[in-house]
Amino acid sequence: MARVPIIEIAGLLVVTVQEELHDRDALRLQEELTDRLERTGSRGVLLDLSGVETVDSFLGRLLTEIAQGARLMGAHTVVVGIQPSVAITLVELGLELQGISTALNAARGLSRLRHLLAAEGGRGRT
């Protein structure tokens, strides 16, 4: 069973998925992440999928729900590291992950998160 670490760095939550997720692992990640958002008051989530080879309709939908749930708790989510083959497959599958912010890699994702948080100014929950 996959354990997905959630690490707090400089007020952001960084999630790195390093192996294929069973459905229950993905659902547990969703719960743990929202729990951590409540406890830390973090306003940004970086979700790194560079280690994921397959994103099917279940995981794709859950990623959208994770981002939406985080948003309801005052946090922005940026998904990074989607492999080229996964990107093509997701589009053909009909899942464009609408409403999810994405970036090519972790570095660009971090700057995107900073930009989103800066644009929000002091109005977020901290």
């Binding site: 294929e20 069973h22 459905d23 229950r24 080879e53 397959t54 994103v55 099917d56 309709s57 279940f58 939908r61 492999q83 080229p84 083959s85 996964v86 093509i88 497959t89 053909e92 599958l93 009909g94 899942l95």
Partner: protein, 140 residues
């Protein structure tokens, strides 16, 4: 079909863990047959969708995945995957193939999405008779 079958492997599905087993097995077979990274992803994702249907809808989540390499005089090398179960079956296959149709917790994207990822898809199903889905992809 006229295709010569080059290999034949069977994988039982008995629960959620087998979704990943089935798709990784399909990916490895595709890689061995010379499919590129994008096609490997398409094939693994299609199998993931079909295996999840079995886990969600079949009786006791039980079904069988058969994966075989194909060698056709005209189309060259391909892969065929047959996913079958003895579940409740699909009453209206045409409807199930339409985007947005879902009878359960899915997004209604499983079957139409799977068809878009593959070159060929056939569904044999009727209420009470279970479901057999055959998908094929040919190497370009």
């Amino acid at each position: 079909m006229g295709a010569h079958e080059t290999s034949d492997s069977m994988l039982p599905i008995a629960g959620e863990d087998d979704i990943i087993n089935a798709r990784q097995f399909a990916r490895e077979t595709a890689r061995r047959l010379g499919f590129g990274a994008v096609d490997q992803s398409r094939i693994a994702t299609a199998v993931s969708e079909l295996a999840r249907n079995v886990v969600r809808y079949a009786i006791d989540s039980h079904g069988i995945v058969v994966i075989r390499g194909l060698n056709d005089a005209e189309r060259g090398t391909g892969v065929e995957i047959v996913v079958s179960d003895e579940g409740p079956g699909i009453a209206n296959v045409e409807q199930a193939l339409g985007d947005g149709f879902s009878s359960g917790r899915g997004m209604g994207m499983g079957l139409p999405g799977t068809r878009r990822l593959m070159d060929e898809m056939q569904i044999d199903s009727a209420p009470g008779r279970g479901t057999t889905v055959i998908i094929r992809k040919w190497r370009r």
